[in-house]
């Protein structure tokens, strides 16, 4: 293979080949990423913490392993981790003042898997505080900029992990998705983002937001790279009793070459008022491409789609209110002393959490409180059943469902921060998959007004193989993955 001068132009698959052939070392590759980070970080702010010393040690060790032929899929590959995944050798802050300076005493299971494989950790990436947001603007440590247009948001909550891929500050990154927090920033940032089936990847060490919705997943420049990372992190874990014992296939073993015989569902409910015409056009063109490649387009209906946003904004805050009760200043994190224990709680949590986090804790506490529990929380759980049943019925008629990832392209920073519900609407197409637990992927499908448009594919539970295969065929035929932003560095 002829190597580019800038090694950050290689995909993970290409890097793997170059490493294994000894054309490059992991140390050189890692250094190339840190050089790149130094140039673009001032403009992008993908990272909250860089792990330079750790990374160089890991890269050196990876080179030693590769020399001895002890090679796994991720050995020597430089990656970034959303700062909501516990790491023992870097802070984990969830982009919150509550955990500023916190260093976890244990690794998340996905981190442990990658460490054991010999991956190289470049750093921890920026996120909306406690993963609650759609733009990475609620981070307590400053926003991340969209590498395609730095006046716009990269999406959220995993905006740092998405931007890092688009700006070539890592070759693969990990994020988390509760209502779209991988897929939506992938769409906004013009990269691949995959939310696996709920239960496919262990949540141990992922600071929890909504325990019945959260999943960890990869960002990458190609579907193949995302598939490689999924294989490295998926699997049953005794530390997460919601992780399933279903065996992990080799996701890259059998990519198809066309889409003959594939039935792709299109639902009219995935067109909404306020959808940008440019997004609509790009998605329609992509559907045309899928047909050209041999797929049969099937009209389906997902009638409860319009209720998904409301269902989510009861369920997720309710679960969050329970999950964030642990941040009380007692055992870890930051504490503000008070006159008594209650006063300490009020002051600590009042100061430690930002506005959006407080808002969601309040919403969730209200929905679960005596007198309101049935009307709000139980009601939402019942509508959730209907949303899941919609997908079950649809998958009788099709193999995957195609939809836009988001109704618009990435919006300007500050343009949606005054009305929370406007911000929430960015996730209207991604939320249903979390409610049903099914896997979803966003892949680039074109541009509108110079900004990337994301195409979303939704698949059957535990059938990431089909999802990735179909996404890969489209990606290769359409070629959008070849385009990367010129990051303005001044």
């Amino acid at each position: 293979m002829s190597l580019p001068n800038d090694l950050t132009l290689l995909t993970a698959a290409e890097s793997r080949a170059a490493l294994d052939n000894r054309e490059i070392s992991s140390v050189e590759l890692t250094q190339a990423y840190f050089d790149r980070i130094q140039v673009v970080e001032p403009a992008i702010h993908s990272y909250l913490h860089l792990m330079t010393d750790v990374a160089m040690t890991q890269a050196t060790e990876a080179d030693r392993r590769i020399d001895q032929g002890d090679i796994r899929t991720m050995t020597g590959i430089p990656i970034a981790l959303k700062d909501i995944l516990c790491t023992t050798d870097a802070p984990t802050t969830a982009a919150s003042k509550m955990l500023d300076g916190y260093v976890s005493p244990y690794d998340a299971t996905v981190v442990a898997h990658l460490r054991e494989q010999g991956a190289v950790f470049l750093g921890k990436t920026n996120t909306d505080e406690f993963a609650m947001g759609s733009s990475t603007e609620s981070s307590a440590f400053g926003p991340t900029m969209n590498p395609w247009d730095t006046s716009r948001v990269p999406g959220g909550s995993s905006g740092g992990s998405a931007a890092a891929i688009a700006a070539r500050e890592a070759v693969i990154s990990l994020g988390s998705d509760t209502g779209g927090s991988i897929r939506q920033p992938a769409g906004f940032s013009g990269v691949v983002g995959l939310k696996p089936t709920y239960g496919r990847v262990s949540r141990y060490g992922l600071l929890p937001f909504a325990s019945s919705l959260d999943q960890i997943g990869p960002f990458a420049r190609t579907v193949e790279d995302a598939a490689i990372m999924l294989g490295a992190i998926a699997g049953n874990d005794r530390m997460d009793s919601t992780s399933v014992p279903t065996p992990v296939p080799d996701y890259t073993a059998e990519f198809p070459t066309d889409l003959k015989g594939v039935r792709i569902g299109v639902a009219p409910e995935y067109t909404v008022d306020g959808m940008e015409p440019g997004v609509d056009a790009a998605v329609k063109a992509a559907i045309g491409k899928l047909q050209e490649l041999g797929a049969e387009i099937v009209e389906i209906s997902l009638p409860h789609t319009e209720y998904a946003l409301a269902t989510y904004y009861i369920t997720a805050p309710a679960e969050a209110s329970a999950n964030l009760a642990r941040y009380d200043g007692v055992r870890y994190g930051n504490r503000i002393e008070g006159e008594d224990l209650m006063d300490m709680y009020l002051k600590t949590r009042g100061a430690g959490f930002g506005t959006e986090v407080k808002r969601r804790i309040m919403l969730g506490t209200y929905a679960l409180s005596s007198g309101y529990y049935d009307a709000y929380y139980v009601k939402a759980q019942k509508v959730r059943t209907l949303i899941k049943q919609d997908f079950d019925a649809a998958f009788e008629q099709c193999d995957v469902i195609v939809a836009p990832t988001s109704p618009t392209v990435a919006f300007e920073r500050g343009s949606r921060t005054s009305d929370p519900y406007q911000m929430y609407l960015a996730d209207v197409f991604t939320i249903p998959a979390n409610m049903a637990g099914i896997p979803g992927i966003s892949i680039p499908c074109g541009f509108s007004e110079g900004m990337p448009v994301g195409l979303q594919l939704l698949g059957k539970s535990f059938d990431e193989t089909s999802l990735l295969g179909i996404a890969h065929v489209y990606e290769r035929a359409a070629g959008w993955y070849k385009q990367l932003p010129d990051v303005a560095t001044s």
Binding site: P105, E306, V330, R331, Y332, M344, Y366, K382
Partner: protein, 103 residues
């Protein structure tokens, strides 16, 4: 669905969130607005529908009752913001107790 200021104060207390007067006002406004949007759920007939608490379908995920290593005490003590003599210490649970020293 409109929340009163008293509702907001009650929920904030349940959630152990210390909100300023301004924050309470803002919260009253935004929460009422969001709950207004969420009211759309009342349009859905769910009488015969069971709730879905989790989608993974697993039940009773158990392990053998064997003692394993847990977090070492010294690691725990390094993390806590307040400690004394090897214990995690906090403010008095109830103030006005003349005997106790505060943390």
């Amino acid at each position: 669905m409109s929340l009163s200021r008293r509702d907001v104060e009650h929920v904030a207390s349940l959630a152990r969130l210390g909100l300023s007067s301004e924050e309470i006002d803002q919260m009253q406004e935004t929460l009422s607005s969001i709950l207004g949007h969420i009211d759309v759920l009342s349009q859905v007939d769910t009488d015969a529908i069971p709730p879905t608490a989790q989608v993974v379908g697993l039940e009773n995920v158990l392990r053998e009752d064997i003692v394993r290593d847990s977090l070492p005490q010294d690691v725990v003590m390094k993390m806590t913001p307040g400690s004394r003599a090897g214990f995690i210490s906090v403010s008095e649970v109830m103030a006005g107790n003349g005997d106790g020293e505060s943390a």
